[in-house]
């Protein structure tokens, strides 16, 4: 799909780690399950924060306080999901190269991460001063991250 990236996928495909994961029956399955657990942590903490921007859920806390309380969990979830994601990538690089869902997912993921740590962070920390903007940021954040999840599930189909 992106021919200039093909050498990278080939290199991964011939790496020791990739052969190791493919040779094992259980490694891929285990990484996938860890990936799902990480997803629960990331989307769960994001959800609580995004709902708060809408005045739903933890209403007595200011968005900035809630963001601070949850950030450690979101970041640990993001670490778990990234590491397991890279291992999954090593488990089937050539399949992923040919999967439109994977390319869409990586694009959405890049957009979600950039949005979350720039615009979203700036707006959420001033949640009450910017009521409309913070709701908008909450919606965009949820759409982006759930789209990442949907595209990820899509890899199994397309």
């Amino acid at each position: 799909m992106f021919p200039f990236l093909l050498p990278l996928f080939h290199w991964v495909d011939t790496s020791w780690l990739s052969r190791e994961i493919r040779a094992s029956t259980w490694q891929f399955a285990i990484f996938e399950m860890i990936h799902l657990l990480g997803l629960t942590m990331v989307l769960g903490s994001l959800m609580v924060l995004d709902l708060r921007l809408f005045g739903v859920g933890m209403r007595r806390l200011r968005p900035a306080e809630l963001a601070r309380d949850l950030s450690a969990w979101m970041l640990s979830g993001l670490a778990i999901i990234s590491i397991s994601g890279v291992l999954l990538f090593f488990g089937e690089p050539m399949k992923l190269y040919g999967s439109p869902s994977f390319h869409v997912k990586m694009g959405l993921l890049a957009a979600a991460i950039v949005f979350q740590f720039t615009i979203f962070r700036a707006v959420a920390s001033r949640g009450e001063a910017l009521p409309v903007l913070s709701k908008l940021a909450g919606v965009v954040s949820l759409i982006l991250w759930f789209a990442v999840g949907l595209a990820g599930r899509g890899i199994g189909f397309l």
């Binding site: 399955a29 996938e32 399950m33 799902l36 657990l37 997803l39 629960t40 942590m41 990331v42 989307l43 769960g44 903490s45 994001l46 959800m47 609580v48 709902l51 739903v56 859920g57 933890m58 209403r59 007595r60 806390l61 809630l66 309380d69 949850l70 450690a72 969990w73 759930f146 999840g149 949907l150 599930r153 189909f157």
Partner: protein, 165 residues
């Protein structure tokens, strides 16, 4: 009627058959199941983290419960609905799957855990509402919930793996 007979009968019901034989219906329901999982279990994890004393320690426990539990229950209702439809479409496969059975046992234990917690430790929440570290009963309930939900997710994913081989 035995459970096996029930599954055999359900397998041949038109609703389940139409889900099973359609190209898009099963993946669509499965995707909704997965998104609702991220929503409901994600929120439950945050509540559990408060119970075991690691997240939102400066927030009252009742505040966390009153605000988040209704949301988690709504998400879980979607999980139950989509889960029943998925089961309906392949009852015989589920019947034969040890992962499916394990998942049901863990869901049952989660119900028992929630019931015991609300019937015992949570009754006295007024006395530890503001405590950063909740009493032993609450911490145990939080850890049990975290581990069982992780088990439910792993077992749920494994149901699909088992069918490939």
């Amino acid at each position: 009627m035995s459970i096996l007979r029930f599954c055999q009968w359900l397998q041949n019901e038109p609703v389940g058959t139409s889900i099973r034989e359609s190209i898009w219906t099963f993946p669509l329901i499965e995707t909704i199941h997965l998104m609702a999982l991220a929503f409901s279990v994600g929120i439950i994890v945050i509540v559990d983290l408060r119970l075991i004393g690691v997240a939102m320690k400066d927030v009252q426990v009742t505040e966390v419960f009153d605000r988040l539990q209704p949301l988690a229950v709504k998400g879980f209702a979607i999980n139950v609905t989509t889960g029943l439809l998925l089961f309906w479409s392949e009852p015989m496969k589920c019947y034969a799957s040890p992962y499916f059975r394990g998942k049901l046992v863990m869901l049952f234990l989660l119900g028992v855990n929630a019931f015991l917690f609300s019937a015992t430790t949570y009754k006295t929440v007024a006395s530890w509402d503001k405590a950063a570290i909740a009493p032993m009963g609450a911490r145990v309930a939080g850890w049990v919930s975290l581990f069982l939900w992780a088990g439910v997710i792993v077992a749920g994913r494994a149901i699909a793996y088992a069918s490939k081989s």
